[in-house]
Assembly symmetry: C2
Homo-oligomer: 339 residues x 2
């Protein structure tokens, strides 16, 4: 990214739940925006969204929409990202894509700025943002891996409805109301009822029995931590929470560390807040962290079932740190390190 005073930014999927968060966060963080161009598919064209006191009109995302843009961000379906990526590159803009379209491509950097920001600088027009459950685990694991070496992690997730977008949140709300009123349960976004239930499947199944979500979390963690052989097991579960993904993370370290050493290390690490006070019953919970920017870590305990074991409980706002905020932090990293 060349150095400029302000930048022209386009958001595709601007009316989606992550798109809207991006617009808010650009304003909140006083991102140096010159022009903000809001783009979406035909059905959302003409919607008005406010930005810095002005009402912006959503336009159609198409080839010519990217002309003159410095950066284009979005969290659109994979096939939409794949369609627009060459158009964004052709227009000379950098595409910061939250979808899974390019994450596994070894030529495309997969970036969480606190974890591997420098990787973003090697982009060739596309930077991918990781899966919303991989991000918080990577932020918590990075300083631990750097100092003590991680041999293996076992991750179980507690992922909220908003991981499936606005439709997921609406469906959880509608199901809850329907259930309380003994009405028929709407089922469109989720394969099963989510209200007052947990669903041990996110995304489709792969032949080996893992879901694509579990596969993405494991592969992306390895790429983010630059540890291609890292031993990982993962089970991804949807829980009836509106916003905020949580995970239990059981870690086997190369070198011994006490719970206190891990706690002190993470306290100083970028993008992490420790919430871990047993006496006050304080630990990260989705209800407290929705709308925040950091990755919250608590329940830091030694696991004596292996020589160097540590348990963590990790929680983050999946719409912000898990997608929109992370994309904007990538943009900030690019403009702070001009080419």
């Amino acid at each position: 990214m060349k150095k400029k005073e302000t930048y022209n930014i386009a958001i595709i999927g601007a009316t989606g739940v992550v798109g809207r968060e991006m617009i808010e966060i650009l304003e909140e963080r006083q991102f140096p925006v010159n022009e903000l161009r809001l783009l979406a598919s035909e059905k959302s064209v003409g919607q008005k969204i406010s930005f810095k006191g002005k009402s912006l009109t959503v336009g159609l995302a198409e080839e010519k929409s990217f002309e003159g843009m410095d950066m284009v961000m979005g969290d659109t379906p994979t096939e939409v990202s794949k369609m627009f990526a060459p158009m964004v590159k052709k227009a000379g803009a950098v595409f910061i894509d939250c979808s899974s379209a390019f994450r596994a491509d070894p030529k495309i950097p997969l970036v969480v700025p606190e974890v591997n920001g420098e990787a973003a600088l090697a982009h060739d027009g596309i930077v991918a943002g990781p899966n919303c459950s991989a991000i918080p685990v990577a932020v918590a694991a990075k300083p631990i891996h750097k100092k003590y070496g991680i041999k293996r992690m076992v991750v179980s997730t507690y992922q909220s409805a908003s991981g499936a977008g606005k439709g997921g949140m609406d469906e959880l709300a509608a199901q809850t109301v329907a259930l309380l009123n003994s009405k028929e349960i709407p089922l469109k976004v989720f394969a099963h009822r989510l209200a007052f239930n947990v669903i041990p499947q996110i995304d489709a199944f792969l032949p080996n029995g893992d879901t694509k979500e579990e596969d993405k979390i494991m592969k992306e963690l390895r790429k983010l931590l630059n540890a291609p052989e890292l031993a990982l097991a993962c089970t991804a579960v949807r829980v009836p929470v509106m916003c905020g993904h949580s995970a239990t993370v059981n870690i086997e370290l190369e070198k011994k560390a006490s719970a206190q050493e891990i706690s002190l290390l993470l306290e100083k690490a970028p993008g992490i807040v420790i919430r871990d006070d047993m006496a006050k019953k304080q630990y990260p919970m989705p209800m407290d962290i929705a709308g925040t920017d950091e990755v919250y870590v608590g329940r830091i305990r030694e696991d004596h079932s292996i020589p160097n074991g540590i348990n963590l409980w990790v929680c983050a706002d999946n719409l912000r740190k898990g997608a929109s905020l992370n994309a904007i932090q990538i943009a900030e990293y690019l403009i702070k390190n001009p080419s």
Copy 2:
């Protein structure tokens, strides 16, 4: 237990959510009951509960209530169980206690009939039923441990509100309604809001950072599997589900087993139903298994992050198999194996 045609049974805490399930299950399973005596604390005395078409009146639980009884069952608070245990013994009855009062006592058998039924026969007047999250994991782990040897398990739970009794379910319902109507959230049973949230704390904290719940699950699994040195890590989490506890179970085996071998083994094991059809999106979920008797296992996958790794997803009705049904199955085991 001496052989008889029918038995006199008392239930303490008969008006509680587990007590009521016990009464229903005795009827459902045509347990050979002569007299059924329903007992509770003063505030519930006089309540009427139907059993086999008759209306029974709840009496006061006190020393003399146990006279003439063959077996006394209950899921009362620990201190209540401790108070009544000597009175039940003095009356010559066997106390089948679902509380945690006696579970850790090496002289008192801790029993899940499918796992270690024979241990119940060595009782000296008390048989303890395990924690509602330990039971399903033990039922699934037992045949695996017997055939392949379990070196280590990492367990993360997804425990429902009913694990905290009727008050827990009422609070989750009231919180949900309050939240949907923007009213004040009632907080009495749980330390934090549970509706649309997850709480990574069940029971009080121990100095080492584990909760008592996590400690109980690990210690009871070791006792049930007769594996005092079994390596275990556990994180217990409350989720906004009314009934049905779930858990991810990551297992390191001594001997190699394929996912298919584990599946075939568990299919034939007592008390287990396999629900594991990726094409049909079938796996155990609380909404499907509430009201059932078995332990449901699905998401059976090999975990290649260790030499002999297996992942399971386990789900059971915590009120039935996790407490009431298990107690009655212990009673059935005792009468089928008379002394």
